[in-house]
Amino acid sequence: MNSKETLYSAGLDIGSALSKAVIMKNRTVLSSSVRPTEGNFSHAANTVLNDALEKAGLSHSDLASIGACGLGASFLAYPFTKITEISCHSRGVNYFFPSVRTVIEVGNQASRVINVTKEGKVADCIVSDRCAAGSSRILQIIAKVLKVDLKDMGPLSLKSTNPVRFTTGCAVFAETEAISRVAEGMRKEDIIAGLHQALAARISAMAQRIKLKEECAITGGGAKDIGLVRAVEGKIEKKLLVSDDPFITGAIGAALIAVEK
């Protein structure tokens, strides 16, 4: 690769809930686009890519490479490099925070704890087991139950004084529990904080399986939720770095890796 040459690349992260795209010029992010997937992977992928291209003032033919990760990455209509989300998130976090050696990713379907090398490669990785209990999907479900906007969940949680104890692993049963607690008159903030505690406990249990390194970051949709971030920090007794836009971490990683391949 000739580093002097201007090289445009795109990275896509087509998740079950959100589709994300970034356009990069060498190692600089030019533009990004995020939208709900809504069950149509190829449509969502096309839309975010075109949207991001438009914002960057580029066209598809300007792209030297496209990298994609996520559940829906198989449905892209044009040639691209498929990369696993784990590698993309490692690389993406490495892009934002080169000193970080542990990444906690809280995604829609699963959570992961990844130790990364200084090059942003995967040194160790633990993924939550075959149950959606440790994923951020549960946050959306509960937000809906409580009629709280997803983005208000974190700030509300921080106001809690007496977090409710959540018990079940199942995301759907957690919904039932939340409904019961509301009915019993427990405050929303306590319920949300309880949920954050439960999620954080599962995530920190995973994190204990690989040695947490000095500098840690949190990424994925869950990183947008300050309540969850604080709860995880409490459990692992470490400060977590959060990038300005945790949603696009994976997409950035995808773009960076695709360039190399």
């Binding site: 990369i83 989300e85 160790d124 075959r130």
Partner: protein, 452 residues
């Protein structure tokens, strides 16, 4: 491209010519039992007892079938689910062993069919048994399951004992010999049980022949394992899962011995000529425990995509390192030979365990020895939802491998029977990331002066 891949047949491609012949032995077992049943000769359902009980039954002229093996077969042809549903309906918890639930559901179907093999039974079905041979080795399922069959089959059950010694306790003065004496006296009672049940005496000469043949077969099977240390790997787990059937179930069968000679020759040829089992071997992994029988093609795929060779696997299905000659000096009693053989299976890695100060000797310590000898880059852990006890020590094994040798492990959930548990997409993504992890630890091992 993804969709195309999905359409491909998902059984694995064997890299050995001989491995393709091994299916014969599985069919032979099932058919022999059905034939015996037809001719009024005794048959039994048996656990894998690691030769402790099978050899004696065979010397008594009993045709054995193995519901564990048949469970894997049902899963591989995707015929287990109706049995699982049946067992669930009978009130057995769905957390129990998948092989057991498959068998319990089948037994219920048999009971509904006057205890004869139901017409649509997978692979011709398990012939109605004269007795059940259960085992206290490895897990509780293997005697509780056969006991539970009493609900459908009113036939005698014999439970074999196998001491489960802790590593430290194994080395207490005299304990090993006490354990072997115990197995021998248990085997005597087992012989008496069989003689009484079948109304005939054990032919001791025949038993000695069978034991000799078994020792021979296991020896050569072990030598095949030794060949597999070669780089690049001449044979991979996809082959082993086929060839394990003869030595595990039919080691006394001269055909099995002849088969292994051919396997040995083929592997030896590949080693001598540096012929790799998979093209571009980049990573050497150990595998634990049983594979997802219904999705074996996955392993060919990761070989193709990432150059991963599964070089050694699943401790409990391997022939054990031979018993030291001095231990066998002057031992002629076939029961004692059997006792020493099976006990060796469960304690053969206790020296390794002692060396590294770990427990238990079985299920995990073999991997410690193998990691070095097979130059392993990683351990592929496949925890089985329905063979839980085999899984209990997996994380521990992974922790110790990392601790002692900086060999990382990857955990990919799955199951031997329940295909719903294994998510291929997720598995690929984990393996892909794990490749980076293996790279990383190669560097770490190099820095720490480890030899591979």
């Amino acid at each position: 491209m993804e969709a195309e891949r999905k359409k491909k047949k998902r059984t694995s491609a064997k890299t050995l010519q001989t491995a393709r012949e091994a299916g014969y032995f599985g069919k032979k077992m099932l058919q022999n039992a059905l034939k015996a049943r037809e001719e009024g000769r005794p048959t039994a359902w048996s656990m894998v007892t690691w030769w402790e009980g099978e050899l004696i039954a065979k010397a008594m002229g009993v045709e054995l079938v193995f519901p564990e093996n048949w469970g894997a077969f049902c899963a591989s042809v995707r015929a287990a689910e109706p049995h699982l549903d049946r067992s669930h309906g009978e009130g057995f918890p769905s957390t129990l062993c998948g092989y057991a639930r498959n068998c319990l559901g089948y037994a219920r179907n048999m009971a509904d069919n006057n205890l004869e093999v139901p017409p649509d039974a997978p692979g011709g079905g398990l012939a109605r048994p004269t007795f059940l041979l259960s085992s206290g080795a490895a897990c509780d399922a293997r005697y509780k399951w056969f006991q539970a069959l009493g609900r459908y089959l009113e036939v005698p059950v014999w439970t074999l004992e196998l001491p489960h010694t802790g590593v430290k306790e194994y080395f207490l003065p005299g304990n090993k010999e006490h354990n072997i004496r115990f197995i021998v006296s248990e085997l005597k009672e087992y012989v008496a049980f069989l003689e009484n049940l079948l109304g005939k005496k054990l032919d001791w000469d025949r038993l000695s022949e069978i034991v000799d043949q078994t020792f021979k077969t296991l020896r050569i099977a072990y030598e095949v394992d030794l060949l597999r240390k070669a780089v690049p790997s001449p044979m991979v787990a996809q082959d082993f899962w086929s060839i394990m059937i003869p030595h595990l179930y039919l080691p006394d069968d001269p055909e099995a011995y002849e088969f292994y000679k051919r396997v040995y020759d083929e592997v030896k040829y590949k080693v001598d000529n540096k012929i790799a089992a998979i093209p571009n071997e980049k990573y050497r992994m150990m595998f634990s425990e049983l594979p997802p029988w219904h999705t074996l093609g996955f392993f060919d795929e990761i070989a193709e995509r990432y150059g991963i060779a599964l070089v050694i696997e699943s401790w409990s299905y391997h022939a054990i390192p031979p018993i030291p000659e001095e231990e066998l000096e002057g031992v002629t009693d076939p029961l004692e030979l059997i006792a020493r053989l099976t006990y060796r299976m469960w304690t053969g890695y206790n020296e390794t365990a002692l060396e590294y100060g770990v427990d238990p000797g079985f299920f995990m310590s073999a991997y410690l020895k193998w990691a070095k000898e097979y130059r392993a880059d990683g351990l592929f852990c496949h925890p089985l939802m329905s063979c839980r006890p085999a899984t209990y020590t997996l994380l521990h094994t992974g922790n110790v491998l990392m601790d002692k040798f900086k060999v990382p492990s990857v955990v990919i959930d799955g199951d031997i029977v329940d295909l719903r548990v294994f998510n291929e997409e997720e598995a690929f993504s984990k393996v892909e990331a794990f490749v980076e992890t293996m790279d990383h630890y190669r560097e770490v091992r190099k820095k720490e002066g480890l030899p591979w």
